[in-house]
Symmetry: C2
Subunit: 900 residues, 2 copies
């Protein structure tokens, strides 16, 4: 820990800079950077994140040097502002805000107007000549401070609804009622002055302590409340979701107050240097006259548009800053361009106008949704602001995923009556049952329901419920409201500020005019357009062929080393995957033809084969099956035009295919010339205690070589026939579930013998699926004959853990809850499984240096797993068609990681 | 390949010696060695095993030097014998015998009297003055040669019963019938002379080729027949069972004929320098006057006892050699002592007396059964012939296993009427259903039947059927008959030569007097006493506390480094294991108390616990269960007197314990205050698709920490109470199914918390069962907290292969048949699994160099696996009580292996 705990910022006295985020937090570092750029920032100082760590590790105490350093830094603030902290004539007021390395919106505390008491109040009234404003500031301080410092940071846990914050809010409402007004701003100075006294009394009554009048006591209380809040329940939950390390800590920024609510020529606003929802290169923001910043973010008042270009239907004829104060707008726009030039990225800024003077309170890299991230990345490359690799680093896989989200079918949407309209805060379409509390969202989702969380507005307590929902709908708040921020971060469908809606969370319903939507009623959201519909509208996949995306993924393709294939089994899937950029099929499950449409007849022949009592009977059934299989394979090979297609031989236990209904059983028995009792007996004989580890995969091919032979013939004859039609093909025959080289060799020999009898074969390969732990252990020997390895990490994960995926329900939730596992190993590759994959590749390549290696488990489209596949030197990953773009991006980012 | 293909032996001209077995085969090397010891050996020469390999790899041709070398060696034989091969006046006759490195009784061919034709015959008649003997020799040559060389080596496969051997045998029987005699020896010279002509005609008729008269053609034919027979079906099957490599090959010994059937002062015999069935230090053997060696081995005539000490009831008053020819017996006894002094081991010898002159035809290390092997090893150490380590090397684990075989309950046996009496050819008792052909034995055994193979006499074609049986019973033959040799080698229960029995293999029955035993009727054999009983007699375990065994295992204990523990769960098992030499319990499965006798009440409480709907209900059930569990553990800890006892916490899926009968279900539902439908619903919820990989082991302890807590309390309180009684204890608490260090740590914390609350605890440990592949991969991290690892190789094998042990029936037989696996990996540790075990130990000891490591799977008592455990540096193996002596021996032999 360094000995410097306090860093100054503001005009002429700046100790920090942008790249000191770890020490100063994001807000503090950027305030310093803006100061260095001569952007007007109210002076202040940052207490480092190291102090936060010290505080929480040392029984809530501070390093001994802090007091002196803080006093000295505040002296410099006083000098620059020309006011004195605690002075009754010319008082300096301070804001105390958290600022961690990474933004944690709404998770930590802020206290404004610190230093205001009955004495400094009077000085300020004299100075500002606006008693209403000053009383309002004082009642805000009491309201905030008593909640954040006196109650929360002291660990008091009041009963539901009985917190000091609610009780003071109640007093405010009472006062408004008594005065017959609806808006806070309609209260007079006298009302507010009375309210200050009422507040103080209530604080004493509820918290059994007087509200502190000593400015320094206020300041230290506010600082400690911020540090306390790092350790709070909400913040911890958020960090868990966002994978933010506990040890980072937050900094505290102590800054001279500026007021957007001082008078008619005061205002406050939030803006983005480009549109964070679409990526368009337009200055985009919201502002409110006579308001503090919190008012915009909290979504209590519907904000005004920053300029004409970002005016929407929703903005109505609210005044834009561009109209209301063109010179200030121009000054802000200049800062905007200055910041973009400096940071080469889209910035999120907060500003306040105090009595006609513009101040910047914050600047940070702006959060953006997926479409915006990709458009900005693409356009900034074209503007020569950034290079391709930087662009790749700017888009997260989950942002890209947003583009791949379904949307509401536009044809259906066109003809469906709108229920309500709000702001388009999160992309894509979603449909689900309405629920009205976060807890209900969690509970319903746990029961397998798809839910849309409907709230007046969301707050940080709702995070878990938001996570459990497919979409969020609020009746209040703007694009920078809590719901909008969270949904954007998660790439989640979200509509906010649908003001026509009246949400009643007690009755669990909302109404729009005469329509009432009750808990459990289906609703549909178009998060891209901010539209809400009653009922369940059909969703369709988005068209991801935008020029920006094509350009962006092209940048990825230039960088990445991993090939990206897809798991597909039909010509239409194959074609779609090609559109998504797939470079082959990594997993074609031959048994897919026995599922779904058109499978009736081949399935029947398969059943005949399974129930056959002799090799001859089996061969007859296989012969009937053969033409179906050959044709099925042929059409997919044709669609892939010579790209490699890995076809996995039959894998599941045969018992899976046996008919269960009496009619089909009868038909099958008749075809076999046996009675149903005999059929039942044969079926019973196929049952297994642990079918996952039973007679399946290569084991079927060993005991029934004629099945392998038929499959090899179907694949290779299909390929040869296409070659004769001048269609290029590259089938790769994959033997599943291999654990020993002897198994593989046994099967490979059958395939080669079949191949030797087929004329006009183009290239083909034979290899194996690596999904049994033992295969990795003897990979050197398997690689002596196998031409490729494809890691089947679903089964490999099952066997490595001894977890049956179908049976983890009883304990996996507990494992994740207790953090025994960082995440579900079936979602993201586990390190133990990675160890086996690595070993398999190393041993395999020891034998055959050019061994082709890929992955075809579901992990092949999961970003962290793709990084692993890159690091471990695989040739390709394979994933479902919709994950192909994600894999392309992740593979490129893996290369970037290498270069770090 | 060396250029010397032929090695001479016999008086004064010996090229080889005993340690050249690889090149000369066992017989050839030992003939050379005996020659060097001045023991009378008929001169001859050995064609090397390398020639066999050359022959079978080069299209049945010979190295070019062979012809010259063989001629030269035979010249030396002629010189020493004073006779000339093929000479019509003074002809030399030769025997041609196989001789591989290791004995393969009856598997390969022999041709005697080579060189005899119509011309040499007349010379021999003139010389021997015994035309009957010479004609008999000639008809034997034709009979043997036409079968072995002209038919078998030519690959002719006649129909069943239509082989030349049978057809000539038929002619012999016809001749005997025609002459009204019953014994071959009653045929006159004229009869035999006629038979020679009849034989020649039959050979021409059946094989369409004349019998070769050219002595050299005969010799080369005989040599090639031996080499052919190495490649024969029977020999291959035998090698597969005995794990003899194909590439060893056999040598061929060409030796001057001596005749045990030349006249009244001729004889032949087989002997052991000590009794091979009991190990007693007595000269033991059998002989026949006027016979060739084959007559003794084939068991066609019941042989005479060699001396008075080995006379049995069975020998009746047949003359012993000791009585009949005391000087020759004395000469033989001197050779016996000479050989034992020289070889320091029990030798198996063959001798022939020709016209009063003793010749040794063979000497080799004698096969012995288990009890004999152990007695000899022990006694030879006491006689200072060999040291302890040599003794350890002299006993195979399977020989030791024989001592551990069950025997017929002596009390029951005493009061049971004997059905028949034969020779005690294989140890122990056995009971099974009578079958009468080798094929039936195989078929019945495949259906899961336990069978005893009953034959008049066995032959090499029966080997597979013998293997499939639990015991063998023959009505003819002696202790050196085929059945006896094979059974002794396999340590199998066997009774031979039960002459009262009439075996009819066509009708599939045998009769003794008026009793008839049909196929499928149960019979019981006492192979140690040679007794046969009707019906199924109870078997009991043998008393293995003989002084020889105790001494022998003591020798093992001095050498071995591995500790040997046992898997046991009751005080009586624990005590038995201590008697067997166990040094602790390596696996005490806590759930055993819910199986078997006395489990009714604890099982009911377990069921209550499983079906409980809340943690409170579960705690109530656990409290009821607690006293049972504590007491159960306490008594076993008490029996083990401070030796380590590894107690594994509950492992199986809970669904296993749920009652299936309506009455118990009703009772359980009542106790829980629910109806049976609800019970059914809860039971259904516990069902799993793959219970082996489901909610069990540590996973139960994670989701239900109160179960772990109760078990820890039961174990540690039991230990503390014993400490208070001044009884030493050393419980090792084992967490099963661990795959992650986080799981282990979670459970360990519970155990430590329980321990902290218990006063007066002696030493205890907490560790884990290593049975999930992932555990080996992260063993370094598990070892940070775990105090010991115990490899559960049953489950580890399941997961490593992805083989559900319950479901391998569908493919494992095919895997073994196709040799995809060298053996069942659940019987002997697989190399892939070994790799994981090794990795686990290395990683674990990297973290904690003194980490205690053991094995508690069933492999812990399997010799090859024990060797692996030794090599990989485990501290102990643990196995079932009856395998403990095997483990002690194997552990000592592993040390011997190290020293090689």
């Amino acid at each position: 820990m360094s000995e410097m705990h306090v860093y100054r910022f503001g005009p002429n006295m700046t100790d920090g800079k942008a790249d000191m985020k770890n020490l100063l937090g994001g807000k503090g570092a950027n305030l310093a950077e803006m100061s260095l750029l001569d952007i007007p920032v109210p002076p202040g100082c940052t207490i480092t994140t190291e102090v936060c760590t010290f505080f929480n590790e040392n029984g809530k105490t501070y390093p001994k040097e802090l007091d002196g350093q803080l006093k000295s830094a505040l002296k410099d603030v006083e000098d620059r502002v020309g006011a004195v902290f605690g002075d009754s004539e010319n008082p300096l007021l301070l804001s105390v805000r958290s600022g961690a390395r990474t933004s944690m919106p709404g998770m930590m505390e802020t206290v404004l107007n610190v230093g205001l008491n009955d004495f400094t109040r009077d000085g300020l009234i004299a100075q500002s000549e606006d008693p209403r404003f000053v009383y309002d500031a004082q009642r805000r301080l009491i309201q905030m401070y008593s909640d954040v410092v006196m109650e929360k940071a002291s660990g008091i846990e009041p009963e539901e609804g009985m917190g000091i914050r609610n009780q003071l809010e109640h007093e405010l409402e009472k006062m408004k009622e008594q005065e017959g007004v609806t808006e806070d701003t309609d209260l007079s100075a006298t009302n507010l002055k009375d309210l200050v006294e009422i507040y103080k009394g209530k604080v004493m009554e509820v918290l059994k302590k007087p509200f502190p009048e000593d400015p320094w006591e206020q300041l230290w209380g506010a600082i400690s409340a911020v540090f306390h809040s790092w350790d709070g329940k909400r913040a911890k939950a958020y960090r868990k979701i966002e994978n933010i390390p506990e040890e980072w800590g937050t900094a505290v920024n102590v800054q001279a107050m500026v007021y957007g609510n001082l008078g008619d020529d005061s205002a406050t606003g939030v803006a983005f240097t480009r549109n964070p929802a679409t990526g368009e290169n337009n200055f985009y923001g919201e502002w409110l006259e006579k308001a503090q910043g919190e008012d915009v973010v909290a979504g209590i008042r519907t904000p005004n548009p920053l300029n004409e270009i970002c005016r929407t239907d929703h903005s109505g004829d609210l005044p834009s800053l561009e109209q209301s104060a063109p010179h200030l707008y121009k000054e802000l726009d200049t800062i905007r361009l200055n910041l973009e030039d400096h940071y080469s990225d889209m910035m999120d800024i907060e500003f306040t106008i105090q009595s006609g003077k513009l101040w910047m309170l914050q600047c940070r890299i702006g959060k953006r949704n997926g479409p915006a991230a990709i458009r900005m990345a693409s356009e900034m490359v074209k503007e020569n602001r950034i290079d391709g690799k930087t662009a790749i680093g700017r888009v997260t896989p989950s942002q890209l995923d947003e583009l791949l989200h379904p949307i509401v079918d536009p044809d259906v949407e066109k003809s469906t009556a709108l229920l309500a309209k709000g702001l388009p805060a999160g992309p894509g379409g979603a449909t689900g049952k309405a629920v009205f509390t976060a807890q209900d969202a969690v509970d319903w989702a746990a029961k397998g329901e798809t839910v849309v969380l409907v709230r007046e507005e969301t707050n940080p307590e709702d995070v878990e419920g938001m996570r459990a929902s497919v979409a969020i709908l609020t009746s209040r708040g703007g694009m920078t409201s809590h719901a909008a921020l969270v949904a954007r971060g998660w790439g989640m469908c979200c509509v906010v500020g649908a003001g026509e809606m009246k949400v009643d969370s007690i009755k669990k319903e909302f109404t729009v005019g005469d329509r009432t939507i009750k808990e459990g009623d289906p609703i549909t959201l178009n998060g891209t357009a901010g539209k809400v519909y009653e009922g369940e509208l059909p969703l369709i996949e988005t068209d991801i062929s935008s020029d920006y995306l094509t350009h962006f993924l092209g940048l990825c393709d230039e960088v990445r080393k991993l090939k990206v294939r897809t798991n597909a089994e039909t010509p239409s899937d194959a074609k779609r995957a090609l559109d998504f950029g797939a470079e082959g099929i990594g997993l074609f499950r031959i048994e897919h033809m026995f599922y779904g449409e058109g499978s009736e007849e081949p399935l029947f022949h398969l059943q005949e084969m399974i129930m056959a009592n002799s090799q001859e009977e089996r061969r007859v059934a296989l012969d009937s099956l053969f033409p179906f299989m050959k044709n099925d394979i042929k059409e997919t090979l044709r669609a892939m035009k010579g790209l490699p297609v890995t076809i996995r031989l039959m894998d599941p236990p045969l018992h899976e295919f046996i008919p269960h209904d009496a009619k089909r059983q009868k038909k099958l028995a008749n075809a076999l010339g046996i009675n149903t009792e005999e059929l039942e007996r044969r079926s019973e004989a196929l049952k297994e205690s642990n079918p996952m580890m039973g007679h399946r995969g290569v084991r079927l091919g060993i005991t029934h070589p004629e099945i392998t032979e038929m499959q090899a013939r179907a694949i290779l004859e299909a390929a040869a026939e296409l070659t004769a039609e001048n269609v290029k093909t590259f089938p790769e025959i994959m033997i599943p579930l291999t654990g020993m080289e002897t198994e593989y060799n046994h099967q490979e020999k059958i395939v080669r013998e079949v191949a030797a009898k087929i004329e006009g074969l183009d290239n083909y390969m034979v290899g194996t699926m690596m999904e049994i732990p033992r295969a990795s252990l003897v990979a050197n020997r398997i690689a002596e004959t196998a031409e490729f390895f494809s890691f089947g990490t679903n089964d490999l994960t099952q066997m490595t853990f001894g977890f049956s995926r179908d049976d983890t329900g009883g304990f996996m939730p507990a494992y994740l809850e207790l953090e025994l596992l960082p995440e579900d190993p079936f979602a993201s590759l586990d390190e133990g499984v990675c160890e086996l994959v690595k070993m398999g590749i190393e041993k395999g390549r020891n034998t055959k240096p050019n061994l082709k290696v890929g992955i075809c488990g579901e992990h092949g489209g999961e970003p962290k797993s793709v990084h692993f596949c890159h690091n471990v030197g695989m040739d390709y990953v394979s994933c479902s068609p919709f994950r192909v773009p994600i894999a392309r991006l992740s593979a490129a980012q893996a290369v970037l990681n290498d270069e770090k």
